[in-house]
Subunit: 356 residues, 2 copies
């Protein structure tokens, strides 16, 4: 499959750290084109990544017949325009999560993808994690019995005590790239994929650091993104869920996701609340068996040779897409997640539990 990457900055960013290493590890894919916003950076990226076609605009990239799948890996506010361009060219699209800057954009993009009849997938790659896929099967096969509840505590890495100048857009809630949408969103997507969707949510949001120092400067910048996200609710199964995300990093718990059932318990831990890209450890036990580490069976690794780190689950997702395009999260799945996030915002704004 020929891939064109929109947003393949040579210096930094998610495309360079995750998509490019992931795609290179997979023989089913070939990176044939890239674009960035400037001629110079596109040429630098072309050289650095060994990609023959390099453009300073998305229109030329999506028009190329060599490109079957367009990857959109840019800041959230640009998703709508660039994904629309790719969809209108009739190309398959892999867009990073969050799909839209808010629900309305995501719905519009999902509708357009359906109308064009292309395959449109969203980068909710926690679902591609071998550990998460294993837990989903364990839960559905009754390892924990009936799920009674689930507890999740995580740290956001960003939205903490200091901000890198290149990440300033994370501070402004209007950009749609927040603690709530990114680490919470990725992780709760895995939670719902394993345990079912929420049928009701209550929420407390707060911005505890309204001004954040900028790294390497004497400046501070205003923050409107919530740096505290506390959600409780009931899943469609009746299980109760409690989730707390905080900005920054704790010296204590940075990821604890526990699933408690009538017959057993499962516990994920990791070094950040970005479950989609952290080093995950899984423990479990049921009945009278000892509780302890669980190792993930080989069959859950869709891309066994994938590079560790950020690229790992992205590679798993690409490998799954190549094997079975319907097995990875679609734009319609992204809309479900955006609706849940809107419900959380509304619950926090009104103080009223929202039904989904």
């Amino acid at each position: 499959m020929g891939v064109g990457i929109i947003g393949a900055s040579p210096e930094r960013g998610w495309a360079a750290s995750a998509h490019i290493p992931a795609l290179r590890a997979l023989p089913a894919y070939e990176i044939r084109a890239l674009s960035t916003s400037r001629r110079e950076s596109a040429q630098a990226a072309s050289r650095q990544f060994g990609v023959p076609l390099a453009f300073d605009n998305a229109e030329e990239l999506v028009a190329r017949p060599e490109v079957d799948l367009v990857v959109v890996s840019v800041k959230v506010p640009q998703h709508r325009e660039l994904v629309t361009t790719a969809l209108e060219a009739g190309k398959d699209v892999y867009c990073e999560w969050p799909l839209g800057n808010g629900l309305a954009e995501a719905e519009a993009l999902a509708a357009l993808a359906r109308a064009r009849g292309v395959r449109a997938i969203v980068g909710l790659q926690a679902r591609a994690s071998p550990a998460v896929r294993y837990v989903r099967d364990l839960v559905s096969s009754g390892f924990v019995g009936e799920v009674l509840s689930t507890s999740l505590v995580g740290s956001g890495l960003a939205w903490g005590g200091i901000i890198d100048p290149s990440s300033l857009y994370l501070l402004d809630a209007r950009n749609g790239a927040t603690l709530l949408t990114i680490p919470f969103g990725h992780t709760v997507d895995a939670l719902c994929w394993c345990l079912g969707e929420f049928r009701e949510v209550s929420a407390t949001l707060a911005t505890r650091r309204p001004a954040v120092p900028v790294m390497g400067t004497n400046e501070t910048r205003p923050q409107t993104s919530p740096d505290q996200v506390a959600v409780s609710g009931v899943l469609t199964t009746g299980a109760v869920a409690s989730i707390h995300y905080r900005g920054g990093t704790s010296r204590g718990t940075n990821l604890l996701w526990e699933i408690n059932g009538t017959e057993g318990d499962l516990v994920f831990t990791g070094s950040s609340g970005h479950l989609q890209m952290t080093d995950l450890s899984l423990s479990g036990g049921n009945g009278k068996e000892k509780f302890g580490p669980l190792s993930i069976p080989e069959r859950y690794f869709a891309a066994p040779g994938a590079p560790q780190g950020s690229a790992f689950n992205v590679a798993q997702a690409y490998a799954q897409f190549a094997q079975d395009p319907g097995s990875v999260p679609s734009f319609d799945d992204a809309v479900v997640r955006h609706k849940m996030i809107e419900a959380i915002l509304e619950a926090a704004r009104t103080g009223q539990t929202q039904r989904l």
Copy 2:
């Protein structure tokens, strides 16, 4: 100080496991009388505990001039009547938590205690825990900087998959002895004592096991007590709190209470969500210091020789009361906690955030 214990069953119960060993370890106290509901059990308790005066009714106990302090350690529905009897006799009272079966009873008892001018204390002994007292001082001295948020996950031990026949009253919410009032109540009291009260609460409550098997029988009994308690809210300081209590015991996390601040973090762990009586471990770190176990300075142990286990914090509370009666939680403190619990019930019932 002469002590009379109402509810000193010789076979089992909190008086036998906590109050009596605690009082025996403290030279400031002498257990001079006890009562139970039956003549035979009172006489058996008298022999077993070596207490000279034994009654099958509370009236005779509170009337004895040898008794300065009346301990009420019976099931919650009996608190109102027995505490009232003791207060009307003009005696100081130590009543187990929860003080009342609901807020109205607690308010009536607190008002009566004020009217009688006696010292009336409630068994919220988590505040007497050396580790909790140390953390309160650490927080107020700035160890974690400004508190940004706190996360708490705990197990209730009871309200799980099976019930002991002697504990059946825990299943019926009308008895006021629930997962919400007992383990959650004790622990959140410590949380609020260290970090400040809640100014608003949202809540999800559920009873996931509406029928509970009775140990040693083929019977099940209906449960109306919530066996899932998920609360989020904002403290008066602006810090966000997220709390999840579940019935029973997890193979994973049974107590995790983490405090995250601008400059440091503190983490309690323990083997149950009953922070008031579990084996607590405390870790912490701030600034660039390494995060690790913290040992509790000697000065926080009010009763250094107290027996470990259930009696430990009860002994600390008695020792503090003997040294400084105003340093232990009063009936007025109990009313504050009952109000919070009523707000949680109302938040869950209405789906509407409650302000306190």
